[in-house]
């Protein structure tokens, strides 16, 4: 009998815990949205500012790049904190690839062009990637391991 009531009590507890968890999950989602929305707005505003500055100054550089550098500058100056952008920023970066898809779908209009030059394109991509990797790798490694500056890495 005791065993049964224990089990029932335990079961009841589990139901309550389960309900509480479900409840807090809903609240958690809302809370998350309340945190993420202003963060997205902040990142969006920086992007708009970057695009605007580039247009205003007639600079031939991407506005989003200027927005990125602006955010870096604000972080470095201590005007804004890393934590202010945290869940939203990581989420966007994690799924960055998603935003590329609508752009690359544009390839459906350039199929013949790609087919005509397919082999040459692959050669260009492979050769230039290999040369770039070797240049970046060798130049930095040579400078890192020069005898007088030999130093253990952190």
């Amino acid at each position: 009998m005791d065993e049964i009531s224990d089990a029932m009590a335990a079961g009841g507890e589990a139901v309550i815990v389960g309900r509480a968890a479900g409840h807090s999950r809903v609240l958690g989602r809302l809370e998350q949205a309340a945190i993420v929305a202003p963060q997205l707005a902040g990142l969006w505003a920086l992007n708009v500012a970057g695009v605007w500055a580039v247009r205003k100054a007639a600079l031939p550089v991407p506005g989003n790049l200027v927005g990125m550098l602006a955010l870096y500058g604000l972080l470095a100056l201590g005007v804004v904190k890393l934590a202010w952008f945290e869940p939203a920023g990581s989420f966007l970066i994690k799924h960055l690839a998603f935003f590329f898809v609508p752009i690359t779908v544009g390839l459906m209009d350039s199929g013949p062009l790609l087919l005509a030059h397919g082999l040459a394109i692959m050669v260009v991509l492979a050769v230039s990637a290999a040369v770039g990797i070797l240049l970046a790798g060798f130049v930095s490694q040579w400078l890192l391991t020069r005898p007088r500056r030999r130093r253990a890495e952190p």
Partner: protein
């Protein structure tokens, strides 16, 4: 399909794109390979569905507009890993800075020259020379230097795949062993995909790659203004 109103086509376009992306994440988990790279895999599915249902890229335009709304903010967010990992980079500023310049300028010049030698059109040459900058920045550079953004996007993704899959092998072969150098090379040339590979190699490589990806894009966008017109002729 022409009977469908614009809003329905847009809704369908968005649903198909999100579905294809979700599917690609699963595919990559189960069958990790360059072919299951999310961008490539999703693009193939979306293009197949659009062609199959007679929807043109122009019809897909509004859906594209809606979905790429967050691309700008996402690009700005790239400052976060840049800032988080800045110390490792600045501690090695001379070697890392020189390697970064050599790599991003070198790959641009070699791509442009090879393209010219192989007789590729000026439009393709301009679009391919900037392929080592991360996609959102590369497509903006393409618009500035009169390349084709959609072509640039696919060249960038393919460079990411090539560098991330063949880069470590190449560096093993040729004795590039320093973790800073390996991370730098992967991030500079293969941006996001290279950075993911560098993170898998180790924390130090990953941190350097994250910074190299951001600064490489800066380098490419500035250099492209002067170098690409010479190369594309």
């Amino acid at each position: 399909m022409t009977a469908l109103p614009g809003a329905a086509v847009t809704g369908l376009g968005i649903a198909v794109t999100i579905g294809a992306y979700a599917l690609s994440l699963r595919a990559r988990k189960r069958y990790p390979s360059p072919l299951t790279t999310p961008v490539l895999f999703s693009t193939a599915i979306v293009v197949a569905v659009l062609l199959g249902s007679g929807i043109s890229f122009a019809d897909y335009g509004p859906a594209k507009q809606i979905m790429t709304f967050l691309l700008g903010p996402a690009t700005v967010a790239l400052a976060l890993p840049l800032y988080k990992n800045r110390r490792v980079f600045f501690r090695n500023i001379v070697p890392a800075g020189c390697g970064l310049l050599a790599g991003s300028l070198g790959t641009m010049i070699v791509a442009g020259l090879t393209a010219r030698v192989l007789g590729i059109t000026p439009l393709l040459t301009s679009s391919i020379a900037i392929k080592s900058a991360t996609v959102p920045i590369a497509v903006e550079i393409a618009a500035i230097i009169h390349g084709a953004p959609a072509l640039t996007a696919i060249f960038v993704v393919m460079t990411g795949m090539l560098g991330a899959s063949l880069g470590p092998w190449l560096m093993n072969r040729l004795g590039i062993t320093h973790p800073v150098s390996r991370g730098l090379a992967l991030g500079t040339i293969s941006h996001g995909q290279g950075t993911a590979e560098a993170v898998a190699e180790g924390q130090l490589s990953g941190a350097v790659a994250g910074v190299a990806m951001g600064l490489g894009a800066v380098c490419t966008s500035l250099a492209a203004l002067y170098v690409v017109p010479l190369l594309a002729g």
